[in-house]
Symmetry: C2
Subunit: 794 residues, 2 copies
């Protein structure tokens, strides 16, 4: 976590790598021949002008400090929108027509090779982090356990707390100094990326490295956090790196690789990566696909289903093969596990009405506690961000503090419970000594076990396995479970905001399982269901209550437990818990996306936007280019605005009257400028001239932060007075709406097709051919609320 | 199946319930003040006119008789496009603003209630058809078996063949006379519906009834067909009936129910219904959701995932509860079964490289045979349609013929194999006498069994269970399996086109399982895998090869077998089989959709359409209305054209110059005409006048075939000379494209938002404000190919 004072972060750079806040700028009009102010439909111009001037003020007022807090180092990260529209300019058309069958085949094959490669790499990473955690945490627990056996309790405590603090500090230092974007779960950021918001460095190589190492250190440090969320982020980072699509630097510039250098193919691969992350974390290939579909992506195509599934399948198989190899004892302390994490088969498949009533009660309570968890997480994150904003050192101190609190709880609380004598029928298994097992000896005399230590003094995975375990009902008493539940719920809340990669799955499953087992133990007299089954259902209820996922959580739990007969009960619990929790607040990931101020486009436009039209939200003055434009004007515009797309107007002598030629992108203008394809007279040069000097590859989208910058250009005065023909790089088919299109319907179009720019056309004749441009931020409720406080009440 | 001579069916009625073939008509221009011919971009007008005139001819030429064959009674069924656009006219806006919180809550609750109700009903229907089939077929087999035991073989054969023929004839008669649309699988039609094509009577109550009864009769008749495909159709029909949303006739006209009377909510519910059908057929709730997502729907929203899942969960639970009840012996011959169809656990989870190689070989062969199956199904359907076109009697004769052939094969072929002595270790189970069991006695002496009869002389479900059964490897010999595979593969091909409701899942699974077991038996020396496992993988390979589904088939097979450890192998097989088969042809359902000539919109526009622009495909003359129009003109236009949407032009005195006001729908015009909201002068009356006389409910979309017809209107000469104000019913925000938008991108917009009409705007000024309308058929490759044979080669 790297909370910083960037509360207007996405305002500062939504559509640009530059400095001007808005796409439709408030900067002074330029020397462009045609430039039009938007006229708001059925409103007089004076009013519109006032609105445009007031906007930044109102906007700031509408978005108070806390609601716009950007937690992941946002003040240093400009946010850029992604563009899923095909830029149909002459370059693209000529390029597309020249594609041979071989190139198309290569492209198809490479798409698959990349997807499968993502699967392999994510599987390997998942294996590495599993093995590293098991070895580091296992070694730590073994050493402490040895000291405990020698009755050197203080030394054991010091060792335990020290190890944890050092591991936590290392993780926090990595996050604070190397890659602040690696803190937290990463799922909200990936969700935002797949919605079209590219927060700088969120998928960078440094983030990937820190995410993997930090996650291993964080989990080993005994925090109540998981490595599942970070695996999703890791998977996306891996996919993003592989999707860069060739590199000039390393000579990887085959012609056909350029087809990958676009946001659309990158998005597809990152979807595969996110799914593979879940698949590798839970060893659940189908669950991974459904997770990506239900929670992460904003757009989905049927073709993607198949590719995503292959990726998750490969990731799972790689992991499975390596774990099978490890079963031979080749991997240090890592010996257990398999494709199924918790093998809980042989449950009963029949249940009575009382059982069902108990399960419904559990689901309702799970939903309520889940909603409360979301509410509290929000508060904790806001409080932490004040600390974290102060600097890297503060982050580390906060992390170490939480680590110490966690260590004290996990080591200290078991002392409060009395030792339980081992049941005679389990003499062979109780008490267990060493790494895992249900019946931890801890400080107890031989023949007895400490129930609370069996849960606390363990890795989180083992604690969950113990909670899910069936058979011996009275293993954990009511007080044990109550203490554990309260502690884990609180620690889960306190841990999420610290500066280490931290997933929410494990804390939620832990709390849910302990709560479920508690409920099962309490309801033992009325319900005949196993407390282990209650623990599983409790976990489902909490997952439904916090994350609001249904199908994917259901399938993940099924894949974890390998028992399809549990399906009806799990579904029932998930549906009830989600419904109950939805009455109070949003899912935890959506909530974090909002809190970070990322301009996330919702599926449904706010209903009140039906009262507004597209023309109401575009603001002037609009910057346009003539189809053959003076170089100096272009350079000056690019320098003085942060806009990314400019309408191109065809005007005399190229057309009898001004008409819309299309839309040109900043990046393409820069390529043309750098290529110096200028003429001294105002004439069309055509695409042939461009192709003579530049390859289609030159126009492909560069990796983030790698494109040409306007300040890199070094043009002479003479060149500045020349003309450049924009026709070859103008997208001739931009999506357009008429100014009196209702804003809600314009939003459906914008969101549905994944656009970055949308031209607004005049309704009446005799006006400029384009009256404005709509971008992502024009659809944000905060923005509209600032403009029209009465139309869109909070 | 009801093939008829309707080969231009969708040409004849794509956009209308009237008679004119094209939305943009070839009829003579009307007395409408503003009417514009489309001008094709960068082409001269003469050429465009020629194109427009030639079109119908070219179109017919481009679509030869066979490729446009409409198999499901298409000559009597006009096809109508569905409209998922929100019609934002004054009526809607006023209506929407008047919605209270209570109404919105009622709407939300009802949406859920309907979805869950669909689940309950589909679960009940699934149970009914299971129990009916088991009892009818079981009784038939028991009677025949009794005669066999008495060595009265000829009588047994006569009884068997007679029962089958009678059942087949009954099913065929129902299909031929009552509801021709009920023949076949129904999945292609549901797929087309969810793509926006409403073929008349495809979801009608009569179709539902015949589908259920016909499916029971067909399966009981011993055909090689399944009840799974029909279950999907049944589920959709049930959902469609429930989604009608209130009825005036029965007084169900609460205000809030009208919000359901639109294509969008109906589409969502039908998606739920289709998923519930799969869930009930295979008792696979997750598989049902994925099936709907992967194969059936064209649009998907995250919100739908949850609702669909609830529906499938309810359907599965209802079925499960009833089957549990039946286990007590309350349901006649239906005693077996449970949530898991084939309980095949306890397979080995490890496999060697040789095993993998054998599996890959199986998958490749499965893919090849699957592609061959699709090719042959196409040929058989084309051949059958010639017979079926001749009339209902021919349909019945064809069905009975196939029934007799099937009976001869299933009864006759077992005589060709020698009896096998029962293995001594299975003395208790072999030979089995009665309904089910692996070791059918048939004509063999006691202590021996007929391997082929165990497969043939059984219901299809039992045959699959026998093929999947593990443990005793040498149960079925190579010759047995080879005979069975060849017969089933051929009969499956021959059966699909007959006039009974027939699913493709069972024939494909049967062929695949027998082929897989054959391969497993042959490869027994090199691979240590169980032949039952090979049978399962063979079924997966065939399903992947014919239906080209991956994730859903995988999950369905997992839910059927309840063994997640098989996942990696099943995935591998599916991916290979699909990839291999995709090299040859399309999936079987897509192929049938194409063959029926349904105007299905593909996700990807044909790449060559990038060379065309929107203006190239619109044809003139365009029929438009003035915003306040003479009643006579409107009535005459509605009578003489079949168009469904008309651009409305705001012209003097209501605007200084003609401008686009919006789009008006035929159905709304008819409501206004019937309400007689006319004025004697050409003035705006406004929405208030409309609301004084009509309720918003009057404008809701009527159930199919129920709306007002233009011929129902009875207007006097005086009324015909009055004026009507179209403003209140004009959709002010129609989606528009500029005429030089590339056709490919226009198609993305059209498909992405699920539109029915799209206005084409002029690029240059000084022309009419709208130059054409694009509808579904303008994006059909056949149509474009007819216009531009060189641009879009076959």
């Amino acid at each position: 976590m790297a909370p910083t004072a960037g509360r207007e972060s996405w305002l500062d750079g939504t559509e640009s790598s530059g400095t001007t806040p808005l796409e439709t700028p408030t900067a002074t009009p330029l020397a462009t021949p045609i430039s039009a102010r938007s006229v708001r439909w059925e409103k007089d111009v004076e009013d519109a002008a006032a609105g445009a001037l007031q906007r930044p003020l109102l906007y700031k007022r509408g978005t108070n400090t806390t609601s716009q807090m950007a937690i992941v180092g946002a003040n240093t990260c400009p946010i850029e929108s992604l563009d899923y529209e095909i830029v149909e300019n002459d370059v693209y058309n000529q390029d597309w027509r020249s594609r041979g069958k071989l190139q198309i085949f290569q492209y198809q094959v490479l798409k698959w090779v990349l997807a499968l490669l993502v699967g392999v790499v994510v599987g390997l990473v998942g294996f590495f982090s599993n093995i590293a955690v098991e070895n580091i945490a296992g070694f730590k627990l073994l050493l402490t356990g040895d000291l405990m056996l020698q009755n050197r309790y203080l030394a054991a405590f010091e060792l335990y707390i020290g190890c944890n603090a050092v591991l936590a500090a290392a993780a926090a230092a990595l996050c604070a100094y190397v890659a602040p974007a690696a803190a937290g779960s990463g799922i909200p950021e990936v969700k935002a990326y797949l919605n079209g918001i590219d927060a700088h460095s969120i998928l960078a190589p440094s983030t990937l490295l820190v995410k993997i190492l930090g996650s291993v250190l964080g989990v080993s440090a005994g925090f109540v956090l998981g490595k599942e969320g970070p695996m999703v982020h890791t998977g996306s980072c891996v996919a993003s790196l592989l999707a860069q699509g060739g590199s000039r630097k390393y000579g990887l510039t085959w012609n056909w690789i350029r087809y990958f250098k676009n946001d659309l193919d990158r998005r597809d691969l990152i979807t595969c990566g996110a799914a593979a992350g879940v698949a590798a974390a839970f060893r659940a290939p189908v669950g991974g696909v459904l997770f990506a579909l239900e929670e992460v992506t904003s757009w989905w195509r049927s073709a993607l289903l198949w590719r995503t599934f292959s990726t998750t399948a490969v990731a799972t198989m790689v992991l499975h093969a390596l774990i099978t190899y490890c079963r031979g004892g080749h991997c240090g302390l890592f010996g257990k596990g398999g494709l199924i994490m918790f093998d809980l088969s042989s449950r009963q498949a029949t249940y009575t009405a009382t059982d069902l009533a108990a399960v419904v009660l559990l689901a309702v309570l799970g939903g309520l506690l889940g909603a409360l968890f979301n509410f509290l997480v929000d508060r904790v994150l806001r409080a932490y961000s004040i600390v974290n904003e102060k600097g890297a050192c503060y982050k580390i101190v906060l992390t170490v503090t939480i680590s110490v609190i966690t260590s004290c709880c996990t080591f200290g609380l078991p002392w409060l419970t009395a030792c339980t004598p081992c049941p005679p029928e389990l003499a062979s298994k109780c008490p267990t000594i060493g790494r895992s097992g249900n019946f931890k000896n801890f400080q107890c005399p031989p023949g007895q076990y400490n129930a609370l230590a069996s849960l606390f003094f363990n890795t989180n995975d083992d604690a969950i396995r113990n909670l899910f375990s069936a058979g011996y009902d009275r293993e954990f008493g009511v007080s044990t479970l109550l203490t554990f539940f309260t502690t884990v719920y609180t620690l889960g809340l306190l841990t999420y905001g610290v500066a280490v990669p931290s997933g929410l799955f494990i804390p939620v499953i832990l709390s849910g399982a302990s709560f479920g087992r508690l409920a099962g133990t309490l309801l033992g007299s009325v319900s005949g269901l196993d407390p282990g089954l209650f623990a599983l259902l409790g976990a489902a209820a909490f997952l439904g209550g916090t994350m609001r996922m249904t199908v994917s959580v259901c399938v993940i739990l099924l894949e974890l437990t390998n028992d399809l007969l549990l399906l009806p009960l799990i579904m029932l619990v998930l549906l009830i818990a989600k419904t109950v929790a939805d009455c109070f607040n949003k899912g935890v990931y959506e909530q974090i996306v909002r809190m970070k101020g990322l301009p996330y486009l919702e599926v449904h436009a706010e209903p009140c936007t039906r009262s507004l039209v597209a023309g109401d939200v575009v603001s002037g003055p609009l910057v346009t280019f003539s189809s053959v434009e003076r170089v100096g004007t272009v350079v000056h515009t690019l320098r003085s605005t942060g806009h990314n797309g400019f309408p191109v107007i065809e005007d005399p002598p190229f057309a009898p009257a001004p008409e819309l030629c299309g839309l040109v992108l900043r990046s393409h203008l820069l390529v043309l400028l750098q290529g110096r394809i200028f003429t001294s007279d105002r004439v069309k040069t055509g695409a042939a001239e461009v192709f003579r000097r530049l390859a289609p590859f030159d126009f492909a989208k560069a990796g983030s932060g790698k494109g040409i910058k306007v300040d890199d250009l070094d043009l002479t005065e003479e060149e500045m007075d020349m003309y450049m023909d924009l026709h070859p790089i103008t997208n001739r088919s931009p999506y357009t709406v008429v100014e009196n299109m209702s804003l809600a319907k314009a939003a459906v179009l914008f969101r549905g097709l994944g656009l970055r720019h949308m031209c607004v056309l005049p309704r009446t004749q005799g006006r400029p051919p384009v009256v404005g441009i709509l971008t992502r931020h024009d659809f944000m409720p905060q923005y509209i609320r600032g403009l029209y406080p009465n139309v869109l009440p909070r």
